[in-house]
Symmetry: C2
């Protein structure tokens, strides 16, 4: 893989850039973050973190000074682009944790409008997933399902409903924030 690979960095890479941008840390301290914080369940094992950091540095997205890893301008820009990507149906469907990580890091950008755009696209995606799940529950496919199967799908439904409420809550909170700042 070349440093100019358009799909670089990986998710783990973005998370590392974000942590480094939030506060420059030693490689070891970055690694420890994955053990102590509950968000973004990547392995904290050295075999995960160190190679990832090496690739980031080779690509010029991070740099190390006095043992501290920090994000370069290029790294910050790449991170920002990633954070600002709209939330898709597929992402909330199979990578919800990543979506929420992106939201968490969005405060590094510190732009209420971007945050609002993120939240509305998040809400729309969750809402659509929920709609499709309900449609499935009412289709013939679900009729033939066992008691267990229906309950399992039900679990997905309540999960999406909870996220929908969360999104509404976050949106109204953001609006209040904006008002109080004025």
């Amino acid at each position: 893989m070349s440093a100019s690979d358009i799909t670089f960095p990986t998710k783990l890479g973005f998370v590392l850039i974000a942590h480094a941008q939030a506060q420059p840390r030693t490689a070891y301290a970055l690694r420890k973050l994955f053990e102590t914080t509950p968000v973004g369940r990547f392995s904290s094992s050295p075999g995960s973190i160190y190679p990832a950091l090496k690739k980031l540095e080779a690509a010029g997205l991070t740099a190390t000074k006095d043992g501290l890893v920090h994000a370069t301008a290029k790294g910050r820009q790449a991170l920002r682009a990633w954070l600002c990507e709209p939330v898709t149906l597929a992402e909330v469907g199979r990578e919800l944790e990543i979506t929420l990580l992106r939201f968490a890091f969005l405060d590094l950008v510190d732009d209420a409008m971007l945050t609002m755009r993120f939240l509305t696209s998040f809400r729309a995606a969750v809402s659509e997933q929920l709609k499709q799940l309900i449609a499935f529950l009412q289709s013939e496919g679900a009729a033939s399902m066992s008691w267990h199967g229906k309950l399992a799908v039900e679990s997905g439904r309540i999960a999406y409903e909870a996220q929908l409420h969360w999104a509404d809550h976050a949106i109204s909170r953001l609006k209040k924030n904006a008002q109080s700042k004025r």
Copy 2:
């Protein structure tokens, strides 16, 4: 990899065995299941399914007769062992979808006691995750977090709470089922 690999099959493999056990199907029909059902978001692409089926057959876990894939005794036994594994903290933390898939397929075993055992271990695992998350929210680590970060963790909290309610609901439903069967 040898056919006697102790960690075989993979998750995708187990899902395929389960579908085949529930109803023998052609490889193509199995593949299509991943497009049409919302549970267990594996890729439906041929590059995923066909190699997986081939490995299962090589390991003697499935067999094809008249074009229909069905689970062998060995396959059913392996599946049962997988389904009966207790739910761990790690599993609900990063593979909740898989956990719920396991629950859904548990009806193939058709043993109310095993289902109950599964649900209670599920409930315990979710409850513990929730406890840890709340502990984190009240720790010094969370105090330094941004508005965004706290909200993101909050989203995890409500997700676990929803699963906890689901577990309670499923457990009481199972008890009712048992009563009405007597």
